[in-house]
Subunit: 108 residues, 2 copies
């Protein structure tokens, strides 16, 4: 589980369907983007899953909307986004959200 | 891809790690909860993925916070939540979010 965060903060929900291309380059870039994102100002965390049907959800967490915009404009990320749009995904969507409340539990 | 929604609306991000128990009952209940959720007032959609590490993200979308609270209190859902807390998940967290903005693309 992520460390407990304290709302309000921001979440970016990235939902996508992978096209069946470029697997090794995709994974390499994807790992690099997680590494790079985690060094940006205001980064709070990231969780990512993809099922066997190729549909994936990645949620990244940020202190402010400005932090998200700043990451979106990062030049290396910008190039990766281009490959995502043009090659790697059949479709994707991005939702910018204000997290208002959270709760959870741990059983172990 | 989900039908395009028009912000503002609400998202519930449910992140969880499955415990290695009760697989068939879990799947049956999980499918039933999707079916039941989709009949609730204000339901807009749901996307769910789980990777091979057992970590899953389910995001459901709703018109208002009241719709989310109403669904949380549904008696059949309430029982499922109890099993989730006590048995099915090593951990989980729930984040209630206001979706402020969205964009996306489709390549096919």
């Amino acid at each position: 589980m992520m460390n407990k965060l304290k709302p309000p903060y921001y979440a970016v929900i990235f939902t996508s369907k992978r096209a069946n291309v470029d697997q090794s380059l995709y994974i390499k870039t994807s790992d690099r983007m997680v590494e790079l994102a985690s060094k940006q100002p205001g980064f709070l965390g990231i969780t990512s899953t993809r099922g066997t049907d190729g549909v994936g959800i990645t949620v990244s967490y940020w202190e402010t909307k400005e932090n998200i915009l700043n990451w979106k404009k990062n030049s290396e990320h910008f190039e990766a986004q281009k490959s995502g749009r043009n090659t790697w995904y059949e479709w994707y969507d991005v939702k910018i959200c204000l997290v208002e409340r959270e709760y959870g539990a741990r059983n172990s």
